[in-house]
Symmetry: C2
Subunit: 700 residues, 2 copies
């Protein structure tokens, strides 16, 4: 964490520049929240008119404000902002929250003003948050620099970074009714200086923050975000809601890779590499956050993808008092890539003893509508003791015979005592209100429907899986710049590939029979010969392709015959000679590509190639640098990659060779920033090699 940011989060004294005695003004709301929010440091006000506010003097000049003061909240008209920042610098205040709007978000003139503010701030050594933001909220310190209607959100373990102040404000109000709190909330606004990547380490270091949620509309510096987020996620879970897909116009692409890599592919790949969980909706982000804040993590083997190990019996147990919601939950777990536990024989016996004979003691465990609080507790205890149970989803619609809150009271001690995650589907509203409060107080995440509870368990499983596999990730720091780094040109491509150890089959032009023979010898036999003519599109139709030439004499004869055939068939065609390429045996084929993302750097692709690559969309993306494990994971995500292991009559091909090409191509891409796109289509995969047959490179 950057120490110059410290006063934003732990100020010794705060001054509100633009404080107001009119309750409808923002400058009043901010003053009120600072005072009433319980902030323990010094609070000062600057206003155009002298007087008092909340028992404190209103200074007319910032210079009059006494020590201590290290954070300014600036609520002045945009035109007055440069002077206000200047004044901060003169007063020795190193951090300022620029709350006013009217800058970049309103057009070119505002952008210019914002740029001026930034320059002054930099010159004066003032760090800026905003403009166009609602500032910082810390429920534990406490500190509330916003103008939002009190009360402050309740204390909690969720740290919330938001590009949008309005979104943050709406979430704060919504969270009240949902019954969850926050540790810190940081509204970033236009991020003229401080951005989400700067704030991530602050929340990571905050003792009260257990999970970080991030609402983002863009990214300031993709590579730095990757690096910082990768470090933060090793310590605390980070969930991101990235919006703004619709705004990203598709740029013209020179390759299939470029066409397939929509703007979101790079974000997906960046979040995956950094271990950031990407939520699809706002509601989902907070559903996940509540589980990650409160629950222990399940074993990493929980998700279906791990079902490659059929011996693993782990999974989630569903405990319900009604069949229907149990079925909904089972479906939803599957949708979230989770397994249902196979309950142990002893578990089923113990459940049978605790339940009426017509209850179901298989998973989902259906206790029937008569289930009492003590039966709920007894059954959950039995389930959590089962080695095959990695977590539980408890379904709690209002029991016909008992109060829901009695069930909640019976369950919470068990949930606290367990090292396995338990989430609740608390179905209903008025009849479950008291139970909801019990769970809230106890820090047990409860959701109104089984689907949302299952989704939360899915996030826990993803988090566990990430922590388990974190050493499999290749980070930029691990890669040393290659010795082969130099400014390659289009004519050096074969050499470039050779330098990085990527096997390829170069295509060479021969202008006469002797040159053809000598080139063929250099390439190694057999070779393929194709007529080189800009006027002939379908070469094989006119005898312009000869396969399987085995030695020098065959090449010489073939050259003469081919030229003669073409001259006869198409007398008007210009003939430049022939193209020669070593003939690669048949095998499986994949496409391997790279497109340089402006934010995140080289984005690697692998999948089904050929001409239909864009139609099939059987491709996977990941950011360079790739580790072998990451490259292998990419192959797993595509059919083209999976079938390298063989499929029915299709013999296996050299998967490791493809992985090797992916890893090396990712290094090549990192080293050579003047290369914009690379596409190998196809990479021919044999039983013991993978060879780039056709390579296209776009230099920038």
């Amino acid at each position: 964490m950057d120490n110059s940011l410290l006063p934003f989060f732990k100020p010794q004294g705060v001054v509100v520049v633009g404080a107001s005695t009119s309750p409808e003004k923002l400058g009043y709301g901010v003053a009120r929240n600072l005072v009433q929010g319980g902030y323990a440091g010094a609070i000062h006000f600057v206003s155009q008119k002298a007087g008092t506010l909340f028992g404190r003097p209103l200074y007319v000049e910032l210079g009059q404000v006494p020590d201590p003061v290290d954070l300014a909240i600036l609520i002045v008209p945009p035109q007055a902002m440069p002077a206000a920042i200047e004044a901060c610098g003169q007063r020795g205040i190193g951090t300022a929250i620029v709350m006013s709007s009217g800058f970049r978000e309103v057009g070119a003139e505002g952008a210019e003003l914002e740029e001026r503010c930034k320059e002054i701030a930099r010159a004066r050594g003032v760090r800026l948050l905003g403009p166009n933001c609602i500032g910082i909220l810390d429920t534990h310190l406490p500190l509330d620099t916003t103008f939002l209607q009190p009360p402050m959100p309740t204390q909690g373990g969720i740290g919330f970074i938001s590009h949008s102040g309005a979104f943050a404000a709406a979430i704060i109000d919504w969270a009240r009714a949902q019954g969850f709190g926050f540790s810190q909330i940081v509204s970033l606004g236009n991020q003229t200086d401080v951005n989400e990547t700067d704030v991530l380490p602050v929340l990571a270091a905050d003792e009260h923050t257990r999970v970080i949620v991030l609402y983002m509309e863009s990214i300031s510096d993709g590579r730095r975000f990757l690096q910082v987020a990768s470090e933060v996620t090793r310590r605390k879970p980070v969930i991101a809601l990235k919006v703004g897909r619709f705004e990203a116009g598709q740029k013209a692409a020179a390759s299939h890779t470029g066409a397939l890599a929509g703007s979101e592919a790079a974000f997906d790949a960046a979040f995956a590499k950094a271990g950031v969980l990407r939520a699809e909706t706002a509601e989902q982000m907070f559903d996940w956050a509540r589980a990650l804040e409160n629950c222990p993590l399940p074993r990493a083997s929980l998700r279906l993808r791990a079902a490659a190990h059929p011996s693993a019996q782990g999974g989630i147990a569903i405990l319900t008092n009604a069949g229907g919601p149990g079925v909904i939950a089972a479906d939803a777990l599957e949708t979230n890539g989770l397994r249902l536990s196979q309950l142990a024989e002893s578990t089923r016996t113990a459940l049978s003893a605790a339940l009426p004979p017509s209850a179901s003691v298989h998973n989902p465990v259906d206790m029937l509508a008569s289930a009492s609080p003590s039966q709920y507790a007894a059954c959950l205890k039995i389930l959590l003791q089962d080695e095959n149970v990695d977590g539980a989803l408890v379904i709690l619609p209002p029991p016909p015979m008992f109060k829901t809150e009695e069930v909640a009271e019976a369950l919470t001690p068990l949930i606290h005592a367990s090292d396995k995650p338990v989430v609740i589907a608390l179905m209903g509203s008025t009849l479950v209100e008291a139970a909801a409060q019990v769970f809230q107080r106890a820090g047990v995440p409860a959701y109104p429907f089984p689907e949302r509870a299952a989704s939360a368990l899915g996030a826990l499983a993803k988090r566990a899986e990430y922590l388990n596999g974190v050493q499999r990730l290749q980070t930029l720091e691990d890669t040393t710049n290659s010795k082969v780094r130099r400014l390659w040109t289009p004519s050096d491509l074969d050499e470039l590939f050779a330098a990085y150890g990527i096997p390829s089959a170069p295509v060479k032009l021969a202008r006469d029979a002797d040159e053809a023979a000598s080139i063929a010898e250099g390439l190694g036999f057999p070779v393929v010969m194709k007529i080189a003519s800009p006027d002939i599109l379908h070469k094989s139709d006119v005898g312009g392709v000869t396969l399987n030439l085995q030695d020098v004499p065959q090449v010489q004869v073939a050259y003469a015959q081919m030229v003669e055939r073409i001259q006869t068939a198409r007398p008007e065609a210009r003939i430049e000679g022939v193209h020669l390429q070593r003939q690669i045996p048949q095998g499986q084929e994949v496409i391997v590509g790279m497109v340089r993302d402006p934010q995140f750097g080289p984005l690697m692709m692998v999948g089904s190639g050929g001409v239909e690559v864009e139609g099939l969309r059987d491709v996977a993306f990941a950011l360079a640098p790739l580790s072998q494990a990451e490259a292998r994971e990419m192959l797993r995500q595509t059919w083209a990659g999976r079938k390298l292991q063989g499929f029915r009559n299709l013999p296996p091909a050299d998967e490791d060779a493809v992985i090797d090409v992916l890893v090396k191509l990712s290094l090549l891409a990192l080293d050579n920033e003047h290369i914009e796109e690379i596409e190998i289509n196809p990479l021919r995969v044999l039983s013991n090699a993978a060879i780039a047959v056709d390579v296209r490179v776009k230099f920038n």
Copy 2:
């Protein structure tokens, strides 16, 4: 609608058998709800002990109950149920709600008891609802046969059919807090007699029901459901939440089609054909229902799929007072397949006049945080007048300067006056509570997040699209049984295909050169010859394949040469002769398949074929019978189908011929119930024909 069901929904008099004076008993709750719920017909109670309850006599025998009585609610122990049903028959009561549990859901013994009840009911002419259900709720009649805690749900236009009583009960409680009501709720329980298909027409005929939601775990009779639901959806929207995916074990399949057609593919296809909207989650089902209950439908051209017509400018307008939520909404509309409107020049001019200069008058329209209730109203009015706007999503977080409910009040008259749908993202909780009530009273659907509002608009668009295309659907009634119906056997396959007009290239066995010549003449030239030997796997490796035989002499020579080659190369191999097939030119290829679903009948498939069909999963399903339009839609859903129109260097192929094969194969499948699976892989698609090259049929 079956008239024998009428007393369930409009009874003249109701008797509770098993009424109880103990408030903790179900028999008390049911009696209480009947009386306090305001049911206007006669209410009678039967109990083991005489006495009174809610001012009415407790009879000890059903025979003592006076007229009118045509509906019985049976709350007696399972063992006593057969006698109770018998008594209903004797008393002339034609409908009975069997509320008790302890039947099929608890095992074999219970199932036997349930079967006995069913037989008695049938013999005595008593229709049964349940067992194991909570009965019927009608908020308008009113009638409440449940034991649920009062008050009854508020009146509304959503009719709700549920297989699960517990789910229905939880939803009723939840709906209270969400602020929406119901017209009727029917809990079906074990459906020993009355099932979801029986009840659909009842709700379709109910004047208060505007939309039907259906929670289902299984289906009783798939074909009948299809037929009935198809009729109902032409009048009223139906939304289904079908659960139980995880329970459906994958059966062993004889074909790729069978392997790809998981249990859910048939349900998806059935819902699509019947025009039933399939929701993914419970919350989504009711989000959609609230929009369909209250909003006019947008133009059918709204969804992105219609973007094939780039001239269409229609779409959704987003109106917001903050950028962030506007971006979320835009993304979510796209996720739901909806377009953003291109606002007309005149609209932007009008918006500019109504808003401050720094507001954004492009879609999403951002009025800025200062937006007043009258600005909200003025802008919505302007947007709804734009011809390019088919509907609006209004984002309403608490405005910093105004009360949210004032905005709500300003908007509702406009929304009522418009024939375009408007939904609200009302973000927050305590600060928007009053506004939520305004929208509830006005029947304007409001959702806590833009994503859910966008999903609701998506449902409206799907509904409009369905109604617009309803004539494109082929229904079973439209198809006359083919004249070619007969019991075909495996040896008749060529004839069968010929009878249905499906072009195929039969494979014939010739045992000597003369037979080969005569068969080849019959097939038409050119032909392909392949060695027929059970001992030779890779025929071409040993010279066992000869292509392009052009006439009788060539066939005779080829036969002799092939047999000699094989005898030399593989002297041990048994040679049965040669297989001859007309040689089909190269072209595009698709797979076309049929697997008979036990519930819904022939499920048709088309997509990318070859050996990799199961890996690529580029396939689409639909239920037979197929119209041309339905078959074309299947092709649109797959890459293999889309590329029939040509792709880059790939020339177009005869899409209509594929559609013709799909339509005819669906008729063949309907006519021939003894055929279990058919797979054409490949169907070779030329420029002016499609020919089945390899056909496999599984008879049952």
